[in-house]
Amino acid sequence: MSFLKLLTLWERCPTTKIGYPTRSLYLSSKLQLKQIEEVITDNTVTISAKILPSEREPHLLKNANPVVCPVCASGLDIKHTDVLILSQFVRSDGCMLPRRITGLCRKQQKRMSALVTMAHKAGLMPNLNPPNSNKDPKKRHHWKKFNKYFDESTIKT
């Protein structure tokens, strides 16, 4: 029991495992690919980790040309208003995922993060924001509360 707990703690530690995102303490989370369960019976605590299937699995586009990254292979001209695509590259707080997780090429990663910034500024992804933020874009301050649009050709890649 204590060994398992130690193992999970060791796994959680950002310095021991490179490639892991740092993880603060979560008591419950309904959506995670790796779920950590705690079962308490009498005076033993069992902590187990299991890998859940991803919700994205059935809707994943097949990469026709696996040599290049998924965005290049799709051949799409992604705009900053395509929030259903851009929301796939961000965390639930609206932060861009790093390249080791998105698996995009350097050029597309830079382009996608610029497009995500544009979508956030235009208030098109108000539900993907830090929990303490103001969810309604119309309640922003000064010039930020009005609608704005962006020109994708201004992105330098």
């Binding site: 991803s54 695509i85 965390r91 539900n127 009005f146």
Partner: protein
């Protein structure tokens, strides 16, 4: 004059009422479009001395969109005529005070600087939201197509739409979602 010709005569010279939704539209690009309808430039009978302009009702002028940081860069100049009477108002401040003013000024300055534009502007009816008096709305017989597509916010899509949309990337197997 036959009945057909008479109806054609009425249809040619009647003033048509158009409606235009300015939500997420650039006011300066919209002004170029609306100007044609207001002055009657889209009609084959157009002549500067021929009073053949149409009425345009513009709704949702409070939701116009400007590119990038133009809300804080574009300034509107006014001078009272007295010494030290100059003032510069930034676009977002003007829009805070009157949500129809930016579009009104854009249409006015898009037309040539003769006195006829004062009368042409009388045919432009601006409303900051969708609330239009019923006696104006009953005249409308045409909708002017918007220039820019209106973007849809992510939280206005249903949970199922978001879930079933084709995904470009999947998480690594050991990724802890948050």
């Amino acid at each position: 004059m036959s009945a057909l010709k008479r109806v054609q005569q009425w249809a040619t010279f009647a003033r048509i009422w158009h409606v235009y939704d300015a939500a997420w539209q650039n006011p300066f690009h919209s002004a170029k479009l609306l100007k044609k309808y207001l002055m009657g430039l889209h009609k084959p009978i157009y002549h500067p001395l021929n009073d053949c302009g149409d009425h345009v009702i513009v709704i949702n002028t409070g939701d116009i969109a400007l590119p990038e940081d133009e809300w804080k860069k574009r300034a509107y100049f006014h001078h009272t005529g007295y010494p030290g009477g100059a003032s510069w108002t930034v676009a977002w401040e003007l829009h805070d005070k009157d949500p129809t003013m930016i579009l009104k000024k854009a249409v006015y300055s898009s037309m040539d600087g003769n006195l006829q534009r004062r009368y042409t502007m009388e045919r432009l009816h601006l409303f900051p939201d969708g609330k239009v008096p019923a006696d104006l709305m009953k005249n409308v017989s045409n909708q002017i197509q918007q220039i820019r597509p209106v973007p849809k916010r992510l939280d206005h899509y249903s949970e199922q739409e978001r879930k079933e949309f084709p995904k470009l990337i999947d998480y690594p197997k050991d990724y802890i979602l948050r």
